[in-house]
Subunit: 594 residues, 2 copies
């Protein structure tokens, strides 16, 4: 078994930190009881461990390939994707009206984590399809919904997001793809899109491309972008597949990692125009695209957690197997398995603590999204939506940045063997490297966190979180005991650093944007560290209360929280210095001085 | 031009921080004046920029290949290596008696940095050859020296280090290769060695393998290891090549990076025994091997600096070229080159500051090695040798660990393009990953730093460094001005953290080794950060004094030092917490709890 879903930790985060029981009392979520959720997770674990995980290495060795406009995926992917669809896994989160299971995001999230841990490249296809479904649910016409949603949710068809163009990476204002109205409600689309994940493949009968383009006379910049559906095969009125549309995959990229996932260059309209239909209103494409992106950003954050978990498990397995050198404390005269060496433990604990911390924050965020959708009280919904939106760039940015460190440590634990491709540790290190880049780089996430999520409300959501963190500090202090007191102290200095930085951001973004944005990524990391530390503080209290039920698991949770406090939360002060005092030298050099 | 040697910064570090002028007054180094050194560096820059650097990408695309026991290197490597030898570059450091130039390590080190920055894979062959030369100079017989040294120093032949066996990675006590005396002064060698860099290749007429093996009845463990020379071709009395020896390359590894460098599995003695001769005395092989390893460890540290510099230059070039998004301060209405975005600057400054800091520490260490060899006063020699030996694990561990972060940032600066292999940024990220592993993992370096380099002398060398750092703090304080005062304050907290940690290490290693070794790598990193910060403090003072000579360069140095203080030196407190307070949770879990 190359991957085993960490069900205990997932259920702990869902039940003890994210409040699944309360969530299941909200209207619409009555079926999502803790028992049902556990049964679903167990089923997901079986499928991902047995069907999807074994294809991960195969995908690296025998990646997707392109020939004459067609993409052939890794042997086994097509069949696994059929099983994925038939098992209902694409629809966990989506409405029952269109064939989904309508479960909370808090239940769908661990399922996504498992799928991504099993196979990052494979999981990208459902990830992008989720985004397309969300956009059509929000802004699609009834015709769109009827034509596309049941097929997307059943896994018969898949979806894509077409944003990037050669001259427009992060900057959507520069999009040039054209959409010409044909007078019959359809448009002809012309342009080139790059970096289109699963933009062409052989796992589904049809691909629904969601494409950003400009109509004639549209305003310049992001206010003139509209969103269109451009299916690979046109869809007849009866739902059957019609003609092949004028969208061609002209090449796929040769990448550092996630090689099984085809990254396509798509050419629209080279043979008369690709037929598309408008989603929602003209010139509101960016808004709809953000719906897809918010979904995708959260999911990419889960990818970071997933690949970290996978790398951790592989490193632990190696460390328990590899015999090398006598222990430093002289407790054995022969070589021991390397998990007995303190530095190997430090590396494994770092991997474990970063991963568990990020998981707790992400699941907490998923629950906020659920409350924001289903709570009967509008004020509570609004408050939770603001909380969720604050957390999305942190889940995306922090969980993916740490996946670089975690997968790098995974290689290091393996020593020289880690550098040999056959070992498999290097694949995670290569695969993870895209995560802080796609769906908005960490800098883009950090800009969002500063601008829309902190300055716009004067730091209200951030300060509210700090107040809750202070309560946890107090509870840890009341509990007493060395580990609890130590974490309380580290949490306090972390929270105080965060408060100071939020004030700095709120005070200076308008007057000195270069100074604030010089520290925007450190601010995002500080949020990730402090919020993870907070969840660990809460986890310690919950683990202590439940200790008798499973002492080994709960003791490990407390020790991991303690480790996080001294080794990771302790970095808050340095980030504060970098943000508050460190902007000047970031901006000091002229371009020529670099 | 894909690489341009940073001559200004190299010469600044040599002249202002490592004291080249004083060094050139020592007996034997009279030729190494600053002017001569500059001329040598300029010549090295030309060769490496024009001949070696262009082969770096080719080596990744068309790596060394194995067929029927022979290894063919990347097209162009053989000719470049011939030019390298003919240019005298293998001999910069080595004695004139055997054809070398006999220059100080302080002059050889920037030459090595350039070679490695130009092409990490290519540079490994001379790197290992240097180690073989050092071992033979120290422990070889006259016959060894006459037979091998002129050919190795001229670059006609190359050398290797044969330590690792399948069951013995870092743990040399487990070496099993046998050496049977033949009664004629030779031995027959039998065994398998793995991970042998340039263990077989087509760039030289002969390969001199230095091999660890056990003689019959040798003591168990590391005290029973002897060192042998086993040339690929036996050498006749007249120096001509004789019969092919019984050493076969049975395969080479498929690696994450440094693909052009063949990593061989060597089989000794499958056809009757490989003929070897003893180096030095029986059972003292480990000691001699440490001579090679100390040379190689320092050089691998330089590899970390070199690949960081290369990645930095590539990222800067991209950032000055790529136009994307309007500036956050609204200073332009159009997209600008991304070097104008604060977070891109933050990433570039991080890459730059880490690299320059590590370079300054390494050059400072090289000078200490030179003084240790040539100073007329034995006490000064001894003191500088202790200093150099303290610094070697830091140069190796810190410079290579940071190269992971720097090359990762190099990918990030490129955005999505960084993940596409054609861009070349990903190669540095892959290549760098071996550096904290080979020639002793970071944990092995940290164990050395704790045991042999700190505890053995009761922390004397470390405390002496701290006293010198305090003097620099005072000088920065006397200078005044915001940047200088800020760096002084960060240096003070860093130095105090280091003092506290040294005390903790000295006090607890015997009584609680598991606690100390849980923090050994953080201790090594703390040393790297504080010593880099110290060199930056000295650099600020020197740059200010010399400002008028080149204001742009010296202002950039001061700003980079300021950046290092607030963004990197500020991490010292967190490392102190992790080391002094964080050991308990590192060791808390049972193996089963992972």
């Amino acid at each position: 078994m190359t991957y085993r879903a960490p069900l205990k930790d997932m259920l702990f985060a869902m039940n003890e930190l994210a409040g699944l029981a309360q969530l299941s009392q909200l209207p619409g979520y009555e079926d999502a009881t803790p028992d049902t959720a556990q049964a679903i997770l167990e089923e997901a674990a079986r499928f991902n461990e047995e069907v999807v995980a074994p294809l991960n290495r195969a995908g690296d060795l025998d990646p997707s390939s392109w020939k004459d406009g067609e993409v052939t995926t890794t042997p086994g992917f097509k069949d696994a994707f059929r099983q994925f669809g038939e098992g209902g896994w694409q629809g966990v989160l989506h409405p029952a009206d269109f064939g989904g299971q309508g479960l909370p995001k808090l239940v769908a999230t661990p399922c996504n984590e498992m799928l991504n841990a099993a196979n990052l490249s494979f999981a990208l296809c459902p990830l992008l399809t989720d985004g397309a479904i969300e956009a059509l649910l929000t802004a699609g016409t009834d015709a769109h919904k009827q034509a596309f949603l049941p097929k997307l949710i059943s896994g018969e068809w898949t979806g894509t997001m077409n944003l990037t163009e050669p001259q427009a990476g992060s900057d959507l204002a520069a999009v040039r793809t054209r959409a010409e109205p044909q007078g019959d409600g359809t448009y002809k689309i012309f342009g080139t899109k790059i970096f289109i994940t699963y933009g062409e493949h052989d796992m589904a009968k049809n691909i629904v491309h969601l494409v950003l383009a400009r109509t004639p006379n549209a305003p310049e910049g992001v206010k003139g972008i509209s969103l269109f559906t451009v299916p690979k095969f046109l869809v007849n009125a009866d739902g059957s597949l019609g003609e092949r549309n004028d969208v061609q995959c002209v090449s796929i990229e040769h990448k550092l990692g996630i090689k099984a996932s085809p990254t396509a260059v798509l050419q629209f309209g080279d043979h008369g125009g690709a037929i598309g239909t408008l989603v929602g209103e003209e010139n509101r494409g960016l808004e709809y695209m953000f719906i897809m992106m918010n979904s995708a950003r959260f999911s990419v954050g889960m990818q970071g957690i997933a690949v970290s978990e996978r790398a951790y498990q592989q490193a632990v397995a190696y460390a328990k197997d590899r015999v090398q050198s006598r222990p430093v404390d002289g407790s054995a005269r022969e070589g021991v398995t390397i998990i007995h060496h303190p530095d190997v433990r430090r590396m494994l604990m770092t991997m474990r603590a970063l991963t568990e911390g990020a998981r707790a924050v992400a699941y907490f965020a998923a629950a906020a999204s659920d409350v924001a959708h289903q709570h009967p009280d509008e004020a509570v919904r609004r408050q939770n939506m603001a909380l969720y939106e604050f957390l999305v760039p942190i889940v995306k940015g922090w969980s993916t940045e740490l996946s670089i460190d975690v997968t790098s440590l995974g290689v290091q634990v393996h020593g020289g063997m880690g550098f040999i491709e056959e070992t498999g540790a290097a694949q995670h290190y290569r695969d993870a490297r895209i995560l802080p880049i796609y769906e908005g780089t960490t800098a883009i996430q950090a800009n969002d966190l500063v601008g829309r999520k902190t300055v716009r409300d004067g730091g209200a959501v951030a300060r509210n979180l700090c107040a809750q963190i202070a309560e946890t500090e107090a509870a840890l202090g009341r509990h007493g005991g060395a580990a609890f007191t130590a974490v309380a102290a580290q949490l306090k200095q972390g929270r105080e650093a965060l408060e100071a930085v939020v004030q700095f951001v709120v005070d200076n973004t308008k007057s000195n944007p270069n100074a604030v944005f010089a520290g925007s990524v450190p601010y995002l990391k500080l949020c990730g560290i402090v919020l993870s530390g907070w969840q660990f503080g809460r986890a310690m209290l919950a683990a202590d209360a439940k200790r008798a039920e499973d002492p080994s698991f709960h003791d490990a949770k407390i020790a991991t929280a303690h480790f996080f406090g001294e080794h990771i939360l302790s970095q808050a002060g340095s980030l504060r210095a970098a943000i508050v005092a460190g902007a000047e030298p970031v901006n000091a050099l002229t371009a020529e001085q670099f």
